[in-house]
């Protein structure tokens, strides 16, 4: 594999992981605009564990993902008291605060950034992204996925039917934070250097775009969205300076034509198995 192709595929893998971190809360009707904060927690915690405690990478990555998840749970419980746009803004503020805290944390380099000694080769990154996709596909076949859809579609009815709305929302938020922390931890070990400025608003917002562009109705939407957002700018590379402008224009026109995203349930019905016709 050429260096360029590997580079693109690594970026793609990180984008896929980030997209699923955003997809989980969105599937329960919560917009998380602070995913970068949880990535930062994962990245810094894992880097600290391998650098200062000489943990093996795999253990550091898993523990940091868990740590990001538990921070998500702790902060998520009060934050989830808010709904809709308030929740989106609360997560947005949360992401900003978390990365600003790391910017001021001298123990991990502060504003100068933090080099990471241990290295995770591309194959590990690919495997991790595949693992996240597999986990999500698996999750989509469980009752949990049904609960998510119920809570998103109509929280009141879901509540009446005995689904713990707060519990499901907190679970989706926590799982999303865990996936984000997992991605961040790998990111630190693949690129060998992290700085707080990397975990900014745009890093939080772009995965949301992947998910909404791909479509939130199915588990494949985020995958398709991340694929498109990573590969399309590469194809447009020929028209160097215009590529992001063209790309943005395309997104605007596309969303105007298809607000529900690329991959939807009706698309599956169109191309999927047809139910056998009942004839008499």
């Amino acid at each position: 594999m050429s260096g360029y192709l590997t580079g693109v595929l690594v970026t793609l893998s990180f984008n896929i992981i980030a997209a699923y971190a955003v997809y989980l809360p969105i599937a329960a009707g919560q917009l998380n605009l602070g995913i970068a904060g949880f990535m930062a927690i994962g990245a810094y915690a894992a880097a600290f564990l391998t650098n200062e405690m000489s943990w093996p990478i795999w253990a550091a990555v898993l523990v940091s993902a868990g740590l990001a998840g538990s921070v998500g749970l702790m902060i998520g419980l009060p934050v989830l008291r808010t709904h809709g746009i308030y929740l989106a803004m609360a997560t947005f503020a949360l992401g900003q605060v978390i990365s600003a805290v790391f910017l001021n944390l001298e123990v991990v380099g502060g504003a100068a950034g933090y080099p990471v000694a241990a290295y995770a080769p591309p194959n590990i990154v690919f495997a991790a992204a595949a693992g996240v996709v597999g986990f999500m596909l698996l999750l989509s076949t469980t009752r949990f996925a049904l609960y998510l859809t119920a809570v998103k579609s109509d929280p009141t009815v879901a509540d009446l039917l005995g689904v713990s709305v707060r519990g499901i929302q907190a679970a989706a938020f926590t799982l999303g934070a865990m996936v984000a922390g997992f991605g961040g931890a790998l990111y630190a070990h693949h690129y060998s250097f992290i700085e707080a400025q990397h975990f900014n608003v745009m890093l939080s917002v772009f995965p949301v775009l992947y998910v909404l562009f791909g479509g939130t109705q199915t588990v494949l939407g985020p995958l398709v969205g991340a694929l498109f957002f990573t590969l399309a700018p590469e194809w447009l590379r020929a028209s160097a300076e215009w590529r992001y402008a063209l790309f943005a224009l395309f997104i605007i026109l596309f969303m105007a034509a298809r607000p529900q995203g690329l991959v939807t349930m009706s698309l599956f019905r169109l191309f999927g198995r047809r139910k056998p016709q009942v004839t008499t």
Binding site: P78, A90, F92, Y244, A245, M255, P259, G261
Partner: protein, 290 residues
């Protein structure tokens, strides 16, 4: 110099205030978190810069910048707001962010990514009260922002159009049943909020004498914070929030350091959202279930 910092904070706050009011018009009335507003703020500053650079008189350059922002905002209404009605509430976010990326990159192609120096309009006229230094441009901007907000508040409470807007804010469906023509009201609101954002951009350019294609991001997001801290959908809430955020930003830079700005500003936002989601002077949300 605490009093000097307070003056600077008020100045920055008055810019956040205009951006916050622009956001509040879009979200309080149309329930649309319009992320193209930071882009329109930037267009205000950059287009004014472009006009002045072409040799236009500053008044023409400013008028041109405002008109351009208004036109772009009409396109946002057409392509990002209107097709999304009845869909996922998050979907317009994508296309309005698309506009932000598009505008930033168009300006990048035209003027490059560096910060450009905006020529000073009022030749260094400073008011000195004791040790306090107040730029005339600062004073004029502050007065203009406050006048705009007072006018807007009067407009919303006393005119027919204002009543229509408040009806839509209360309940879109009821407003349509009562005969409010949404397809003509929505574009006007978009133009209004674009004008406010672009005015803030021009004031920013005049006061800080620098523009860049990415000047909208930081200010725009602080404007959102200001809107929520004050109370979403409330004009005076946006004023209070804007001034408060501006003040906190300036004071925390001078007292602690530039790296803690995001902690204090967004920490306050987070705290407000958890303790008092309706904002300092907003009404509690009545529409939301659960």
């Amino acid at each position: 110099m605490v009093s000097q910092q307070i003056v600077n904070g008020l100045m920055l706050g008055s810019i956040y205030m205009l951006v916050a009011v622009a956001f509040t018009l879009a979200i309080g009335v149309l329930n649309f978190l319009n992320f193209s507003i930071p882009g329109l703020f930037m267009v205000g500053g950059m287009a004014a810069y472009g006009g002045v650079k072409l040799g236009l008189h500053w008044s023409l350059a400013f008028a041109g910048a405002l008109a351009l922002a208004a036109l772009i905002s009409l396109a946002v209404e057409r392509l990002a707001y209107r097709p999304m009605q009845g869909g996922d509430p998050e979907a317009p976010l994508v296309s309005s962010l698309g506009f932000l990326v598009l505008l930033e990159n168009l300006m990048l192609i035209r003027y490059g990514s560096d910060q450009q120096a905006f020529p000073p309009l009022l030749a260094d006229m400073n008011l000195r009260i004791g040790d306090l230094v107040i730029g005339m441009a600062q004073l004029a901007s502050l007065a203009l922002s406050i006048a705009l907000v007072v006018w807007l508040s009067w407009f919303l409470s006393a005119t027919n159009s204002g009543r229509r807007i408040r009806t839509v804010a209360e309940s879109g469906e009821t407003a349509v049943l009562l005969g409010v023509n949404m397809s003509s009201l929505a574009p006007r609101l978009f133009v209004g909020s674009a004008m406010l954002a672009a005015t803030a951009g021009i004031l920013f350019a005049v006061n800080y004498q620098q523009v860049s294609p990415f000047m909208g991001e930081g200010v725009g997001f602080k404007g959102v914070a200001a809107m929520i801290v004050g109370g979403m959908g409330s004009i005076w809430g946006a004023v209070l929030g804007g001034l408060l955020i501006g003040m906190i930003e300036v004071l925390s830079i001078s007292v602690i350091g530039a790296n803690v700005v995001n902690i204090t500003v967004y920490g306050l936002l987070l705290l407000i959202l958890i303790l008092r989601p309706q904002g300092l002077i907003g009404r509690p949300p009545s529409r939301e279930k659960l």
